[in-house]
């Protein structure tokens, strides 16, 4: 495509110095500034006193040092240079953003507590509460794994059925249209009633959220297969079973992956609701708990973990897709 923009963050030719990697040096400057701001200015302590201010400053300074070293040496080590070069601009901006965040929250209270918390408070939460957070991550992962696997499997089968069998579609289609878009919360009481344990009810909610997009997109995928592909197989003696398994499904896989991807997002979205069902830990549970106390620091900390987790899982999914669909160059991007 167009814009082969130079992402490498090369400095203006006039600034080019043999052996120097300018973005690294700039990043060192912004991170040092962040450290200075964090340590040098007094906290606007009002309600809470932060215990981690010093440590945050030290960490920022250490990273500034690292970037400085990289900036001075990276060009000399081409392999290393190639890996860090794309990070350059982001590192510079991140340092500046950290400094700004610090200034706006802890130092001048432009963004008021408790809605906005300074970095040191997040660090504090991770330090004090990491045990509970880790437990929650594990619990949520396990819940997601069960619900997602179930939902994806059922959704896939339903989608293939819809795309393939007019008979199945006649009965399933109206049901899906009516039931699919309902919000997860609406299912809570029924899920309660229908499932023997709250764990299975939670799993059901996650599965439902996952299953709907998977079913719709699998269906779409199967329905949009180039009819010539069927013609070819049919003239070669393919039976319906073969047409489904070896033509429709492989051809629909790119769509199925879009569905799996959307389903993953949806399953995260209902995590909070699903974890209202008597679970003992979990990120959604942690979030409602933190919100119940208006403990924004904890909430942001959990959100960050959640975002990283979701992003990581999607990355995994896309890795899988790239492997399975190597014949196809990245249809859905992540």
């Amino acid at each position: 495509m167009s814009g082969a923009v130079d992402i490498a963050g090369e400095a203006h030719p006039a600034l080019r110095w043999p052996g120097l990697w300018w973005p690294g040096i700039l990043a060192a400057i912004t991170w040092a500034a962040a450290a200075a701001v964090t340590q040098g200015l007094p906290d606007q302590v009002d309600i809470i006193e932060w215990t981690q201010t010093g440590n945050v400053a030290i960490a920022q300074a250490a990273l500034a040092g690292l970037f400085l070293v990289l900036g001075l040496t990276a060009r000399l080590l081409p392999a290393l240079h190639r890996r860090v070069v794309p990070l350059g601009p982001w590192l510079v901006v991140l340092g500046a953003a950290l400094a700004g965040w610090q200034l706006l929250t802890a130092k001048f209270s432009v963004l008021p507590m408790p809605f906005f918390v300074p970095p040191q408070q997040l660090v504090e939460v991770y330090q004090d509460d990491w045990r509970r957070l880790a437990e929650s991550v594990l619990a949520s992962l396990w819940l997601l794994a069960r619900g997602y696997a179930l939902g994806a499997a059922v959704g896939f089968v339903v989608g293939v059925g819809l795309g393939w069998s007019k008979h199945f579609g006649y009965w399933a289609h109206p049901l899906m249209r009516l039931v699919g878009p309902l919000p997860a919360t609406a299912w809570l009481p029924l899920a309660f009633f229908l499932f023997p344990s709250s764990a299975s009810a939670s799993t059901f909610l996650i599965a439902l959220a996952t299953g709907f997009p998977v079913a719709v997109l699998t269906w779409s995928g199967v329905a949009s297969v180039d009819p010539d592909f069927y013609d070819v197989a049919r003239t070669l003696g393919a039976k319906p079973r073969f047409l489904v398994l070896k033509v429709a499904i492989p051809a629909a896989l790119p769509h199925v992956f879009v569905g799996l991807f959307m389903g993953l997002g949806a399953s995260f979205a209902v995590l909070v609701v699903a974890e209202m069902l008597g679970v003992r830990s979990g990120l959604g549970w942690y979030l409602s708990w933190a919100q119940g106390w208006a403990a924004y620091g904890n909430m942001y900390a959990a959100l960050l973990v959640m975002a990283l987790m979701c992003s990581g899982l999607i990355t995994l999914l896309f890795k899988l897709r790239d492997r399975l669909l190597s014949w196809q160059k990245g249809v859905v991007k992540w």
């Binding site: 309600i47 809470i48 809570l188 009633f193 974890e275 008597g278 679970v279 003992r280 919100q291 403990a295």
Partner: protein, 325 residues
């Protein structure tokens, strides 16, 4: 959440109050749901930690149910739990619909507050709320129900003279500061924190007027459990009443116990203060409980929450159980 381990027999030294239910002959497993954010239910945590449940030969598993206590009721009614503690004014309306759950004991009084910002012209007089907007967490919130009752008693029509707006509790502060609402109706601990931090006027609480001696939270037990094994229900109710009594004389214990369930930035002292503002000694059972609930039902009927053709006395009979009788 590692505070349970060493506590099984720690509570024996506390002088047991006059028992109305005996310990069970053999150990019974129970699932008890609660809301681990509601500081006022901290006696449950105390009962577990101080071994009060074990004293009655109960093996209680605590299940936390996020913020919405009607989910708790659903959990009991569908057999996912055997009992739970929730707010009477939240539960009465759902109970009217016919859940198979019976209330066996009230646990304590207090914990709802009606607060207003200082510069809004709202005073401690309820009538000053006329024409104002009040934030609530949802349209079925117990706080909304309670203060509607109170407003109605003071000649303010809760449906027409004030506006109720729904906000999540954690943005009440913003809604106030932005003038989207002038008052908030909320439960502790957030209500207490807001009042203190934002310097709000406390117009009323549910410990005012006739309600000073009324239970706020109640223990609901699965109907089938009461029918099949009444002694268990009795033992559980008794254990909780015991815990309430223990806490009533030792708020510090409750606050310390509950610290495990609170985020790091909430201090024990603060929690003790909150606890002290409730009436933890008041745990009605039997006739008294039935009467308190009937009064609530009558009140709710007056503000059109309970249906007009529901008979408060019959409903009170249906939703309570005197497990000690």
């Amino acid at each position: 959440v590692a505070q349970h381990d060493h506590s099984a027999h720690a509570g024996h030294s506390a002088a047991p109050p006059a028992n109305r239910a005996a310990p069970l002959p053999e150990r019974v497993k129970l699932k008890l749901t609660w809301n681990a954010t509601a500081l006022c239910t901290s006696p449950i945590a105390v009962a577990e930690r101080e071994g009060i449940f074990s004293r009655y030969n109960l093996d209680v598993e605590l299940i936390n149910f996020g913020a919405s206590t009607e989910a708790l009721l659903e959990a009991i009614a569908t057999g996912h739990a055997d009992a739970g503690v929730g707010m009477a004014l939240r539960w009465l309306k759902p109970l009217e619909q016919g859940f198979d759950v019976r209330i066996t004991a009230g646990t304590h009084g207090g914990c709802m507050r009606l607060l207003a910002a200082k510069n809004t012209g709202i005073t401690e007089d309820l009538a000053s709320l006329r024409g104002k907007t009040i934030a609530v967490t949802d349209m079925a919130a117990p706080d909304k129900n309670f203060f509607s009752i109170l407003l109605a008693r003071h000649g303010v029509n809760p449906e027409r003279d004030v506006t109720w707006k729904v906000f999540p509790a954690n943005v009440f502060e913003l809604a106030l500061s932005r003038g989207e609402v002038q008052a908030i109706a909320l439960g502790d601990p957030l209500a207490w924190q807001f009042r203190k931090r934002l310097d709000l006027v406390e117009i009323s609480t549910n410990l005012s007027e006739d309600y000073a001696n009324r239970a706020c939270c109640v223990l609901g037990v699965r109907g089938s459990l009461i029918r099949s094994n009444r002694p268990v229900a009795a033992a559980l109710s008794q254990a909780l009443v015991d815990a309430q009594n223990l806490v009533a004389g030792n708020h510090e214990l409750a606050a310390r116990t509950f610290a495990a369930y609170a985020p790091g930035n909430v201090s024990v002292a603060e929690m003790r203060e909150i606890m002290e503002s409730h009436t933890h000694g008041h745990s009605p059972v039997g006739r008294q409980l039935r009467e308190e609930l009937q009064a609530y039902i009558t009140d709710l009927k007056r503000i059109n929450v309970i249906r007009a053709n529901t008979d408060p006395s019959r409903m009170a009979d249906r939703i309570t159980a005197d497990v000690f009788a």
